[in-house]
Amino acid sequence: MTTVAESPVNYLNAKHTVASWLLTKDHKRIGLLYLALVTLAFAIGAVYAAGIRLELTTPEGDLVSADTYNRLFTMHGVMMVFFVLIPAVPAILGNFVLPLMLGAKDVAFPKINLLSWYVFLVGMVITLGAMVTGGVDTGWTFYPPFSTQGSGSNVMLAGVGVFITGFSSILTGLNFMVTIHRMRAPGLTWFRLPLFVWALYATSLIQILGTPVVAITVLMIALERGLGLGFFDPRLGGDPVLFQHLFWFYSHPAVYIMILPPMGVISEVIACFSRKNVFGYSFVAFSSLAIAIFGFLVWAHHLFVAGISPYSAMVFSFLTYAVAIPSAVKTFNWTATLYRGAIWMKSPMIWVFGFIGLFLIGGLTGLFTAALGVDVHIHDTYFVVAHFHYIMVGGAIMGYFAGLHYWWPKITGRMYHDGLAKLAALLVFIGFNMTFFPQFILGYMGMPRRYHMYPPEWQVLNIMSTGGATVLAVGYILPGIYFMWSLYRGERAGANPWLATGLEWKTQSPPIPENFPVTPIVTEGAYEYSKREIKVA
C-alpha cells in the first residue's frame, strides 16, 4: 500500500535525551508532551469524580464533609474543563496531526508552540498547588460574591492557574490559525482541506477571541478578592450578574472549543471507515464556522433564572435554537456518509458510533434547557449536569478517543489490540449511559446540582449512577493498558494501516522529524476514496 522508503530515523528515536523532549520544537513531540499532562489531569479529575459518586451513594453526607465535597466537585470541574476538555483534541491530536495533514514540516511558530506547552505546565502546576494547599470550593464557575468574599478557600491561586492556562490556549489557537493560512502544501486549497482542519480553524477563532475575556474576568475576581475593587459585590457597588455575563461570554463558546475538534475527528474517521467522501463536505465545513460564530451569541442562556429581563431571555433562547441547527446538520451528514459506504468496523469506528449515540442525546437535551418554560424548572439541577456531560464526556471525550485510536498507529508506529479497543468503547458507552441517564430523571424531579446531601427518595437512581461510573472507569483504564502494551508488543503499523487518504498517512509511521521526505503536492480533495483503487500492501 505504500511506496515510502522507510527511514530508520523517526521523530521518536531521532534523539533520546530528556532535554531533547523538554526543548523540542517538533509539533509531534509537543503533542505527546500535552498527552502526558492531559492524561495526568484526566486521572486526577477522575479521582475527584469518584469521590463525588461515592459520596452520593447515600443521601446523608457521610463519606466526606460538606466542605470536602464542595472542593471535590469544584476541582473535578476545574481539572476537566481547563486541563482536559479544552486542550485534549486541539493540543494533543491537533498538534500532532495538523502539520501532517497540511503537508507541512511543522506549525508556523514552533517555538511559540513549545512556549504554550510551558505556559500550560505552569498553569497546571499552580492550579494543582491550589488544590493540595487547601483546595478551592467555589464551583468551576467562580460565581461572586461567593468567590470574592464568601469562600475561605484557595480561590486566588486557582484563579491565577486558570488565568495563566488561558494564554496557552490563545497561543495554540494563534499558531494553528497562522499555520492553516500559511503552511498548506502546494495544491491544498481550502476546499481540499480535511474537515478536522476546518474544525481546528473554527476552534482557533474561539480560542483567540474568547479566552482573553475569561482571563480578564478571572483577573477582576482576583482584584475584588484581593484589593476590594467592587466589580461584582453589591456591597462594593458591583453587580454579581455582570460576572455571569462575562464568564459565560467565554465559557459558552468554550463548550465549542471542546466539541468542535472532536466533531472534526468524527468526520475523518467516518470517511476513512466508510471509504467515502464525507457527505456534504462544504456544509460540514461551514457548520463548524457557523457554530464558532453563533456560539458567541448565546451566553445568556446560562442566566435565564438569574434576573435578566424576560425579553432578553427570549432573544437568547431563539439564538440558542439557531446554533443547534449546524450541529444537527453535521449529524445528518455523518449519517448520510454511511449510506452506500463500505463500512469497515475497526475500533476507531466503534468509538465514532459511541460518539454519535451520546452526542445525539447531549445535543437533543439542549432543546430542553434552551426552552425557557422548561429551563426555569431544570436550571441548576442534575438535568443540566447530565446534559453537559453527554456533550463534554459523551461527545468530546468519545471523539478524542476515536481520534487517539485512529492516529495511534501513526503516532507510535504500532497497532493496539483491536478487540480490546472495541470492548473499551462498548464499556464506556454502557457505563456512561448508566452513569448519566438516571441524572436526567433526577434533575427533572428537582435534584439540585452541587448537593452534598439529598432527600432519601432519590437514592436508587444515585446508586445506579455510581454503579455506571464504575463501568465507565474500567472502560477508561482499559485503553491505558492496551496502548502501553502496543508500544512494546504491538504489530508494526506501516505507513497506512487503515488505507486512509489523508496526507498524514502518506509518510511513514512514526513520521520522520521533518514529516515528509519531499513536500507533497495535492491534486484532489481529502476523501477521494471512491476514485481510488485500494490495493493491499
Partner: protein
C-alpha cells in the same frame, strides 16, 4: 423502596401541567430524531458492512436538497418549541394582579419567610391552596436560588435586588423547597418544606400565636423612626412626594423617563435615592443604606403598599396622579 421509586415530580401547581406538557412534547420530538438517526446508522452499518476493508464506497458527495431539508425541518421544529416555551415562560415570570404576597430572605444557610400579617418562619412556608402566591425575595450575602420543584418555579436570590416567583398550589401536602444556586458549605442543607393547606386550615394556622404585628404596622413604625414622615407627607405638600396610592403606578422621573413603582423601585429609592428622582422634586433625600435591614425594607415596602390612594384624596391635596418616593 424499589417498588416506589419516584421517577417524576409531583404536579402541585397550575404551572406544573403547563411545563410538563411542553416537556413531554420535547421528549417526543427529540426521541423521534434520536431514533431516526440511531436506526439509520445501525441499518447502514449492518447493510454496508465490509470486513475486508478493501472495497470502496459509492461516489456520493452530497445533495443540496437534502442539506436544505435537514436544515429547515429541524429549524421549524425548534421554532415550534421556542414559541411554546416562551409562552409558558411569560406565564411563569408574570404574576397575576391579585396575589397573596410573602417576603423571603436567603442567607447562608437558611430561608426566612415573612407573611404580611407578621408571621415569620424559617425553612418552612405555609400557604393556602388554590390562591396565587407571590414571593418577593433577596439575599443577605451570596447568590442563592429559591426553588419549588413541585411547582416548577425557581429564581436566583441576588444580594442588592429583588427577585420573585409566583405559583398557585393545586394540591395540599408537603413539598420540597431547595436552594438551587451553590452558596458554600451547607448549600445542600439550605432546604425546607412548603405546607400547602386548605383555606380553613390556613386560617387556623394564621390565627395561631407568635404574631409581632403585621408587616405594614412594623413598616409604619419604621417610617416614623427613620423620620420618613417628615418629608413624605400624605397630602403631597412635603419635600418628598406623597406615597399614598403610589404602589403599582407609573412614576414620572426628572430625566423624562417613567418607572413602575414596584418593590424593586421602592427598595432602590430607599437605598439609592439619587438614582431616580421623581419629576418636580429636589435630590435631597439621604441614603438609608445601613440604617435599615432587609426585613425592615420589606416592612417599609409593605407599608407603602398599604397606603390607599383615597387617603390622599381624602386629605384633599395630592392629585390622584402617580407620584413617587425619591
Amino acid at each position: 423502596m424499589l417498588s416506589g421509586i419516584p421517577l417524576f415530580p409531583e404536579q402541585a401547581s397550575t404551572m406544573a401541567p403547563a411545563v410538563d406538557n411542553l416537556y413531554f412534547f420535547i421528549v417526543a420530538v427529540t426521541a423521534f430524531f434520536a431514533l431516526l438517526v440511531v436506526i439509520l446508522v445501525g441499518y447502514f452499518a449492518i447493510k454496508y458492512r465490509d470486513d475486508t476493508g478493501l472495497r470502496v464506497g459509492a461516489p456520493i458527495t452530497g445533495s443540496i436538497p437534502l442539506e436544505i431539508g435537514w436544515s429547515l425541518v429541524p429549524f421549524f421544529v425548534a421554532m415550534a418549541i421556542f414559541v411554546w416555551a416562551t409562552v409558558v415562560f411569560f406565564q411563569i415570570v408574570r404574576p397575576p394582579d391579585q396575589t397573596l404576597d410573602i417576603y423571603a430572605t436567603g442567607k447562608r444557610w437558611m430561608w426566612r419567610f415573612q407573611h404580611i400579617d407578621g408571621h415569620r418562619e424559617i425553612n418552612q412556608l405555609h400557604v393556602p391552596v388554590n390562591r396565587p402566591i407571590k414571593i418577593t425575595f433577596t439575599s443577605e450575602d451570596v447568590l442563592h436560588d429559591l426553588y419549588f420543584p413541585a411547582f416548577r418555579v425557581k429564581a436566583d436570590a441576588i444580594p442588592g435586588r429583588y427577585s420573585s416567583v409566583w405559583f398557585t398550589a393545586t394540591k395540599t401536602g408537603e413539598y420540597h423547597l431547595f436552594c438551587a444556586e451553590y452558596c458554600g458549605t451547607k448549600h445542600s442543607g439550605m432546604i425546607g418544606t412548603v405546607y400547602v393547606m386548605e383555606q380553613d386550615a390556613y386560617q387556623e394556622w394564621l390565627a395561631g400565636g407568635g404574631l409581632t404585628g403585621s408587616m405594614s404596622a412594623r413598616g409604619e413604625q419604621l417610617f416614623q423612626q427613620l423620620a420618613c414622615n417628615t418629608c413624605h407627607l400624605g397630602d403631597g405638600t412635603g419635600r418628598g412626594p406623597s406615597l399614598a396610592g403610589l404602589f403599582g403606578t407609573q412614576v414620572e422621573l426628572q430625566n423624562g423617563q417613567t418607572v413602575l413603582a414596584d418593590e424593586s423601585y421602592l427598595r432602590e429609592s430607599i437605598l439609592n435615592p439619587q438614582n431616580r428622582i421623581v419629576a418636580g422634586y429636589q435630590p435631597l433625600m439621604p441614603t438609608f443604606q445601613g440604617l435599615v435591614n432587609e426585613d425592615g425594607l420589606m416592612s417599609l415596602i409593605e407599608y407603602v403598599k398599604s397606603l390607599p390612594a383615597d387617603r390622599a384624596a381624602a386629605a384633599g391635596a395630592a392629585p390622584p396622579a402617580p407620584s413617587g418616593g425619591e
